[in-house]
Amino acid sequence: MAFITANWNPLGEAFYRKVELYEMSWVLRDGLRDSLVAAAPYGGPIAVMKESQCLSPSVRPQLDIYTASGVTMATFPWKSGPVVQLGWSVSEELLCVQQDGTVLIYDLTGAFLRHFSMGQEVVQSHVSEAKIFHSPYGTGVAIVTGSSRFTLATNIDDLKLRRLPEVPGLQGAPSCWAVLNQDRQTKVLLANGPELYLLDNTCCTSVVLPGGSPLDGVFVHIAVSFSYKYLALFTDTGHLWTGLANLQDKLSEVDTKIRSPPKQMVWCRRPQTQQPSVVVLWERLLLVVAVGGDTVQYPLDEACVCVGELDGVRLLSPSRHELLQEVPLVCEDIFKIASMGPGALLLEAHKEYQKSSQKADEYLREIKEQGMLGDAVRQCVEAAGHEQHTHTQKALLRAASFGKCFLTNLSPEAFVSVCRDLRVLNAVRDPSIGIPLTHTQYPVCVCVCRLVYRRLYPLAIEVCRYLKTPEYQGVSRILRHWACSKVQQKGESDEVMVRCISGRLADSPGISYSHIASKAYDSGRTELAIKLLDYEARSGEQVPLLLKMRRSQLALSKAIESGDTDLVYTVVSYVKNEMNRGDFFMTLRNQPVALSLYRQFCKLQEQETLKDLYNQDDDHQELANYYVSASYREKRLEARLSVLQSAVDEYNKAKNEFSSKATEEEMRLLRFQRKLDDEKGAGLLGLSLQATMEALLASGLQKQADHLYRDFRVSDKRYWWLKLKSLAEKEEWEELEKFSKSKKSPVGYLPFVEVCMKKSNKYEAKKYVTKVTPEQRVRAHLTIEDVEGAADAAIERRSEAEIGTVISHCSSSSSSSQRLLLDKLQRALTTANRK
């Protein structure tokens, strides 16, 4: 075990170690020199492109994509313009920034995805330098043009270009610059010789470094830490300044005594760091400069590239891939030479135990005496997570599990989770996969995503199953990706493809077939897309895609099946613009639900369309009804009449004689009303027949009323009612009496009594009581409040019910005559009952 510390180097109070991750399996002809190299953080893929200058313009450069272990994932000749910078987005897409400001995006397999431009003016002035950076908003691109202007795009997935203000006095490219992310704002820090400027959206401010004496010399390199919190500047005098990125505080200033400008400069820190440092790379030397001032030197025999990570720096050379990081405190505690930390003792105890030596007990006792066994186990577990090599991990975990046996109340959670995590990490670290994630960098879902990006579906599914990720979030998502990439493959027939996909996805929950179908459609396989859509359970998802594919008929029926009227309406309004009117109406005719929906819309929005719709259907009845309601919107009589005439015609066509006659009569009535309005100013227009007659009678136009009565064949009853009401209203009692005698009343005589009583004319009312039919006589008497008369009539009729009514009427008062009457009625009631 002693050799674990062999690659440790003390730096200040902490140790730094360089661990080999992989022997690279790639074959690079000229090493990494003269190439554009981009390696994604979190153990991501590596893109390498030969610098174009050293090649003749006729030869196209080659672009290669490798895993972190150097396995080729894609390789293709570069066919576009000269490339300034390569970089990776957070979702592992390769960004290639061209000289003319175009950014081309490729996926891991080298397939072209899309492109965007950094602005028109760049085409002329060319990109002189570009940087690709990551922020909470996603992946951003920053460029500086030949005319010294900066342009920023903070998120390439939601592209908004921002041209930063001009920097005063800057001619040509700045000596060095970096992108900062502060207070939710992206800024650029640049150095022009010895001066520093901070550029944000609106202004350019000159800044000075805090902390006493200004540095002499010109800034040649700037490095920002992974979290944008720290800043390091290198001057041509060999000084390295470190401080906070907000330029408020200085950490230190170290003289490296190396004057040549470095090739690369990267911060090397880790969470809960003891001794942060800056890694400075020259052609043949790697210098680790601690903030405290101590340094470690690593001579290099090959050209290297540094990749900053959350918890260290990866060193990429043509033959090796190494990780340089500060040794975590727990590891230091356990493995430091002559360490007496509880973890170290436990590890030792376990080693002795395996050798069946009694020393194991001694060590254990020692830990227990200090009461540190719990800490010892925790230390071993944590340290196992930080180790790269499986045998060290195993040794630590075994020691932890050994120590656990002597504890009763230790929560096993940490142990279990580290075991599980390490299993996944070791799987993805395997050289054939090549994702050298550390435990600190490891969140599960991202890990699975990245396997999916690499199309390592079986491993991804295994990982999900192993981690017991809910199907919905895990396996289903992976299968969806698989299906999406599957449909983009050429060469298989639609049937085979559908069978293959549905077979594999069949029982996984939460699969969106519409998503897969839309991918199929995007790659030009419409028929396949339609077949896949059949598997989609939610019609709501089917419809938009079907519309996109111009299968509006199918979309309409699917929308109707869904029962969601919004969907139906979406399709209808789409189809309306898509088809000519005739076809549109025909389509609607076959779909009653859509038709009724559209009708209702037309009723409120497009009355004319409604008419066309009925016309098309030969629905004369509805058309006629439409005209009738339309006629009331016409202000002018002539217009109204002509609309009504159309209604009559339509009613005739619909063989609805009744309605056509009624409408004709209405037209006649309207004309009649108009005539009278013109002659007498009676204000009748628009009234109903009854109201017209009422109005005529009220204003004494008896003759005209009679005319209407005959002309419209008004029933006798109605007319009598009208007349007697109006006569009573005007209190023309004589006329009323004359009227009552003119003919036998078709409504009987009770109404006469009632209208008189309405005017409280008991005298007149009495005249008609005798004429009332026997059935109604009781009521007539009661109406004129003649209880005795009512009683007599009731007794005469021998009707139980009527006697009852009378009784209920007289019970209200208690005069003697009333009582007599009551007795009489009661007697009559009993006789009636007996009968």
């Binding site: 009653p592 009724s596 109903s688």
Partner: protein, 643 residues
């Protein structure tokens, strides 16, 4: 009205034909009377709605003017009062009146139902502002949901980018402890007349909401196509979402389409609450009593719910009992007041501090309800009303139809009331399975003469719904059956609009009435003070079909044995067990809590009947309805005259 409502003595001619015997009546005075279970707490729904509204208002920070759809005013008032709104920076409140606005605020918020008319008006407002060069921010809040059609209008008018839209999921308003309303009166016309299914999903959402808050349900019964669709929509939503097992507060659910029973809402209501609704119109659980009731010169808005102790005791009573009850109550109150005579000072002090307030309150309510009763009495005890009731009862019983027709004719001729006349015609058609061709034509002609030809489309609407139809002659019947048969064979028949299906709808009221014993035997007097069945809500003349169906289905735990009835009602019934596994502990309290959802509205009479049923059988009914309706509202929804 006497407590013993005198009903006519009939010869038994209507009931002797040798049809199969009526379904056995369940003996009403049951041996064991279970207590009704407690109701779930529905105030949660209000809180949810209020919180969401506040959240939405805060999405538009700063002071703003709020425009509210007229028919959202009262529901909103029940959720959040003006001061709550003011707390969230609402400056002024306006009613949507479809006129140019006068507002100085630079932020306008519109709270509207998803209607094209309102959206168009907002477009006009925005465009007017644009023309005047005014810059404001606009926010549209649609409740309970927004429709694509509305957004389409915004797009067409070119203001889609100028406004932000949101949805306020205010689906349910608890009107009372046991009544929850969707407050969507347009549901009835939209679905049943226009065949527009846009609210079906909303109904599904409502079920889903209740299910997730108070579920799971053990069983779901239903009748009608809309119910079925709402049920399916709900199931879909349940399957999409997560399921969590827990104890539900609601047992069974019964979904009911309004078009299954049009007869009941077409009858005059005589139960106190129903009568108040018919005469004064209860709006959102609140009624405005005019000066004739308050016996002062001011109108008074009164909340009518179980909080009102006096109202709570009389709401379900037949009107004839109410007066007696109120006078008894008045006497009791007097004695309570009288107690203070002969008290010493200490006693008076406690009396004033403890009892007096309650008594005063009760006094106030009592005088109010007495006023209301008097006013109703004035209107309803008149001869005409008695005649009207008599006619209705004859129609229900199918007796003396000729006389009834004459009465209706006279009603029309005398222009008593446009709505009332139409209501009687509808009742006639519904109970008689359509009018004879001759009668239909003459009645329609009379009606048009009385109220204007512009009612032609109204008649078309009523015909479409099958509410007022002409009895088909032999020839047309077969033609229609052919048409319907063709449609049924069609694969899409299941999704046909109800507009079509109602063509095939034949009212079989008589047969149903015999089968289910809806019209009690009339040779005995019906004591309205001690009602023996649900018929008391119509003076003992008729058991409402809707409530009877619910009773029978609950009794039988499904539709078995009711095949003949459902055939007469055009099928579309279903029963499904819900997703709860708690079937084992059947008959526990929650199993006896039953949610009845009326799609297309229900009347207060039906609610009273169900309350009565609940008391008899130990059920507790929760009524969910798209809106409270009555005959007038139902008919007004179908009017298509010039208005």
């Amino acid at each position: 009205m006497s407590p013993h409502a005198t009903r006519r003595v009939f010869t038994s001619k209507g009931q002797t034909d040798g049809c199969s015997p009526p379904l056995s009546l369940i003996p009403m005075a049951q041996s064991i009377r279970r207590d009704s279970p407690e109701l779930p707490d529905f105030s949660l729904l209000k809180r949810l709605a209020r919180d969401q509204l506040i959240y939405l208002l805060e999405q538009l920070p700063g002071r703003k003017d709020l425009f509210i759809d007229a028919d959202l005013m009262s529901p909103l008032d029940r959720i959040a009062n003006v001061s709550t709104l003011k707390q969230h920076e609402v400056d002024k409140l306006y009613k949507v009146e479809y006129k140019p606005i006068v507002s100085t605020s630079d932020q306008l918020c519109f709270l509207i139902r998803p209607r094209l008319q309102s959206v168009k008006w907002i477009c006009d407002v925005v465009n007017a502002d644009k023309a005047a060069g005014k810059f404001r921010r606009y926010k549209l809040i649609f409740t309970p949901q927004k429709f694509y059609a509305c957004e389409n209008v915004l797009e067409e008018q070119g203001i889609f980018g100028d406004v932000t839209t949101d949805e306020w999921g205010f689906h349910l308003l608890p009107l009372d402890d046991d009544i929850i309303s969707l407050e969507l009166p347009e549901f009835f016309r939209d679905y049943f007349l226009d065949g527009n299914q846009r609210w079906v999903r909303t109904a599904g959402c409502v079920l889903h909401l209740l299910h997730s808050l108070y579920g799971p349900f053990s069983k779901v019964y239903g009748i009608g196509r809309c119910s079925k669709m709402a049920y399916e929509s709900w199931r879909e939503q349940v399957e999409e979402g997560e399921q969590k097992g827990r104890d539900g507060e609601i047992g069974s659910v019964f979904l009911f389409d309004r078009d299954v029973d049009y007869v009941t809402p077409m009858c005059s209501q005589v139960v106190y609450e129903g009568l108040v609704d018919d005469i004064f119109r209860i709006k959102c659980g609140c009624v405005e009593f005019g000066p004739e009731v308050t016996s002062s010169d001011k109108s008074l808005k009164v909340m009518l719910n179980s909080q009102d102790k006096v109202f709570n005791q009389i709401r379900n009573e037949h009107f004839s009992n109410v007066f007696g009850f109120l006078s008894q109550k008045a006497k009791n109150l007097q004695t309570a007041y009288d107690k203070r005579c002969g008290m010493d000072i200490k006693q008076i002090k406690t009396f004033v501090s403890e009892e007096l307030k309650g008594l005063k309150q009760e006094h106030r309510l009592l005088s109010l309800h007495i006023g209301a009763s008097e006013s109703m009495m004035k209107k309803k005890t008149k001869q005409e009303f008695q005649e009207l009731l008599k006619t209705e009862h004859s129609l229900l019983e199918g007796f003396d139809i000729r006389e009834c027709i004459t009465f209706i004719e006279e009603h029309i001729n005398r222009q008593c009331s446009m709505i009332e006349s139409l209501r009687l015609l509808c009742l006639l058609s519904l109970t008689e399975n359509g009018l004879l061709s001759k009668d239909y034509k003459s009645m329609k002609a009379q009606y048009l003469q009385s109220y204007g030809v512009d009612h032609l489309p109204t008649f078309a609407n009523l015909k479409q719904l099958g509410i007022l139809v002409e009895q088909p002659t032999g020839e047309t019947l077969t033609a229609m059956e052919n048409k319907v048969g063709k449609l049924v064979n069609d694969r899409a028949a299941g999704k046909l609009t109800d507009a079509f299906s109602s063509l095939a709808k034949k009212s079989h009221f008589r047969a149903l009435s015999r089968r289910l014993n809806l019209v009690p035997k009339s040779d005995e007097e019906y004591d309205l003070r001690v009602p023996k069945d649900m018929a008391y809500i119509f003076s003992g003349a008729y058991v409402p079909l809707s409530c009877k169906l619910i009773e029978q289905v609950l009794e039988r735990d499904g539709w078995t044995g009711l095949e003949e009835v459902t055939r007469l009602l055009n099928g579309q019934e279903f029963a499904a067990s819900g997703c709860s596994e708690a079937d084992g502990k059947a008959r526990s309290d929650t199993q006896r809590t039953i949610l009845v959802m009326f799609l297309g509205g229900c009347t207060f009479s039906e609610i009273s009947a169900l309350r009565f049923l609940g008391k008899e059988k130990g059920y507790k009914f929760i009524i969910v309805t798209t809106a409270i309706t009555n005959s007038a509202r139902l008919i007004e929804a179908l009017l298509d005259n010039r208005a």
